[in-house]
Amino acid sequence: MEAPIIIEVLDRFGKVKERHKINRFPVSIGRSYKNDIIIDDNYVSAEHVELMVDGDGHIMATDLHSDNGLFTIHPVIRHDILTIQENQRIRIGHTDLRFRSENFSVSDTYFDHGRPSQWHLFMTNGLILPLIWLLIIWLLTAGILMANQYYMTIREVHFNILVAAVLPVLIVIVIWTFIWSVISKIITHRFYFAYHGIHVGLLLSGFYFIELSFEYLEFIFPVNGLQAVFVVFSDLAFTALLFYGHLRQSTHFRKRKTKFISTVTASLIVGVAYLVSYVNQPQFSGQPDYSGLIKPPAFVMMKPNSVDNFFANSKRLAEFDLEKNDEEDKK
């Protein structure tokens, strides 16, 4: 291996922590601040290793009588002096060093569709404006929740009933936002409260809006079970989006990894929720189950059936597999 070389200092997960480009030799490595490469690891001696070039141009690593020695790994062998090969990995103390040549080929560049997000820049800079936006979005969310409650109440409605219905949800939103802000603070050293709050507020509003659209969809096309399919998908999508947004802002994960984690998390959460409700549902309901949605008459868009047609298509309702039922009962 010939100069110039690149020395990569790895963390304990094998990820690159630092890269040093070396043009001149010898190079001293150790914990002392006099070294060319300073390793912040208490198991590394003050003067631990020296790199130099021999007469043939090979790079040699020499152990400077360190306390914990110089090792190659796979297999683990202690060396006093070692010829460095390309991509060689050595261990001093608890730190791994890897040697690369200038010709090391890097992986393909990720193609980022679009420019850096203005939204992202806006939300992560400044303090007052994001908080004003947070307030607006949360008021919007509260308004949507109240409107929903208002239309769902068939008794007389008073304002305090609406507040009582919405307040618990708002409290949950604030706590949720705070938890993610703390996670952000721990991992990225930034609080991002407004970002997390706006994210969850917008998603919740969107969620209500979509669910409402599905109701109208089912009213227009009264097919039993159609709405249920859409609801499962929207539950999945919204949960995944929720985690994606929070994780993007509070971790250093790459986009692809974030997508993967949020999809898996959402599938798990939604899956478990549906599983629990499936297990808890009574084995035999004995109750009629049909699409009972009603919206104002103007939303009837399908051509209605004649009475005769309606009943002509109902014959299949009378076809029960009694033998199969019988077998299930015996089980």
């Binding site: 208002y150 239309y151 769902m152 109440t153 068939i154 008794r155 007389e156 009264p222 039993n224 084995q283 035999f284 309901s285 004995g286 109750q287 009629p288 189950d289 049909y290 699409s291 009972g292 949605l293 009603i294 919206k295 104002p296 008459p297 103007a298 009837v300 399908m302 051509k303 209605p304 059936n305 004649s306 009475v307 005769d308 309606f310 009943f311 298509n313 109902s314 014959k315 299949r316 309702l317 009378a318 029960f320 009694l322 039922n325 019988d326 009962d329």
Partner: protein, 431 residues
């Protein structure tokens, strides 16, 4: 002195008391002497043909149901109520039938034939040579004295006196109305008139000293049928009887126009038969809407066992008017009532399948309806269904009519025919 005076007064009082007591007793005995004489005559003459019927749980060998019954011929044919022995009909492997004669002896009995519609059953016991109760062929006048024999509350044979009050006109199946106290254990016993002939079989009580009897003609018919048919599969017998019975009353109803009444701008079916009861109410009670309710149902059902009663016709109209809700909230109100049918038919997994439903938009004359129909099948009687038909009108933003029809134990064809006729009897006058 004082004490003697007091004692005398007490004595006098006692004498007075005794006198009053004596007089009362004398009057009472006189009145009862007349009635008891004839009652006991009837009782003694035929007591050997009266029986207690018992349904015994084979696993625990304990009494599960008791009722009464009586011999109708010397070959040991016993008449009783179907509902007394219904457990044996549905689960012969778990329940057996036995009867106790007046001398206390226990005999096994075998099921010969049943009539679920009129609640009658025939059993076969041991041959007998006691005097038998004959079936009456007289037509009765109101006020005729009737002696109801049976075994109430497991206390031994008793006799209750009552009067004939004619045939009920408002039950689906003809019954004799009796003023007299029937108890539960008297079910299946005979009711006789003074000449000792049976005019009916005790079947039910409505409380308040009102009882019902199955007229003897149905017993005669069942006895005749039992001579020809010897059924083995009683589930099939029940199914056939239910089907032919409903063919009778549902056909009549489906082929004549329903009497109607108006509810808001709508015309709706009213009391469609004498055996159907209707009642209604309307209220606002501080609600942001007005609601009027009209509810109709058959007065009695056909009892099959303690978890299935069938033959029910039930319908309900709910009329809503918006006061201050607005069309979107009003629609939600209608949805709340439309998706929870008020006239439903319950039933467990053991006897029924789950409901199969569909819903769609339907036009009927000038009305637009969202209609749903649901069917569930009787597991033991394939081809018999419980049906729910429910619709709401979608004609106006601020008024809606929700109507529910529930039919129990009908064939698919009868359900559809009746439902079409039902839907066809609604009308809407555009405001």
């Amino acid at each position: 002195m004082r004490s003697t005076q007091a004692q005398t007064t007490i004595k006098l009082l006692n004498v007075n008391n005794l006198l009053i007591k004596f007089l009362c007793t004398a009057i009472l005995s006189l009145t009862s002497a007349f009635s008891f004489a004839s009652t006991e005559e009837v009782f003694e003459q035929y007591q050997d043909s009266l029986l207690q019927i018992r349904i015994i749980d084979k696993s625990t060998n304990s009494k599960s149901t008791i009722g009464s019954g009586f011999f109708i011929d010397q070959y040991g044919t016993i008449a009783t109520n179907y509902h007394v022995i219904s457990k044996h009909v549905f689960k012969p492997e778990q329940y057996r039938v036995e009867y106790i004669s007046q001398d206390g002896a226990v005999h096994a009995a075998e099921l010969i034939h049943i009539d679920v519609i009129h609640d009658l059953a025939l059993l076969k016991g041991d041959e007998v040579d006691t005097p038998l109760l004959k079936i009456s062929n007289k037509s009765l006048n109101k006020g005729v004295r009737i002696y109801t024999l049976g075994n109430p509350l497991d206390l031994g044979m008793t006799i209750v006196e009552g009067t004939y009050n004619g045939l009920t006109k408002d039950t689906m199946n003809e019954r004799i109305l009796l003023s007299g106290a029937l108890n539960s254990g008297m079910s299946g016993g005979p009711s006789v008139i003074e000449d000792g002939t049976v005019i009916g079989v005790n079947v039910a009580t409505a409380g308040n000293g009102i009882g019902f009897l199955v007229p003897q003609k149905f017993l005669t018919a069942l006895v005749q049928e039992a001579k020809i048919k010897k059924p083995k599969d009683f589930m099939n017998v029940i199914q056939q009887q239910l089907l032919s019975n409903q063919a009778g009353y549902l056909d009549v109803l489906s082929n004549t126009p329903f009497p109607t009444k108006s509810l808001g701008n709508y015309t709706v079916p009213a009391k469609i038969a004498s055996y159907i009861n209707c009642w209604g109410d309307s209220k606002q009670d501080n609600e942001p809407f007005r609601k009027s309710n009209s509810y109709c149902a058959t007065k009695n059902n056909i009892y099959l066992n303690n978890s299935i009663s069938t033959g029910t016709i039930r319908y309900n109209h709910q009329y809503f008017e918006d006061v201050e809700m607005g069309r979107f909230r009003f629609a939600h109100l209608v949805q709340t009532y439309f998706s929870n049918p008020s006239a439903s038919l319950s039933g467990g997994k053991e006897n029924f399948t789950e409901y199969n439903c569909k819903s769609d938009y339907v036009t009927q004359q000038n009305m637009l309806l969202k209609t749903a129909i649901c069917l569930k099948e009787y597991k033991k009687f394939p081809g018999l269904y419980d049906m729910i038909l429910i619709f709401t009108t979608l004609n106006e933003n601020d008024k809606a009519l929700i109507s529910t029809l529930a039919l129990a134990g009908v064939s698919y064809e009868n359900a559809v025919k009746f439902s079409k006729h039902y839907l066809g009897s609604f009308a809407w006058k555009r405001p």
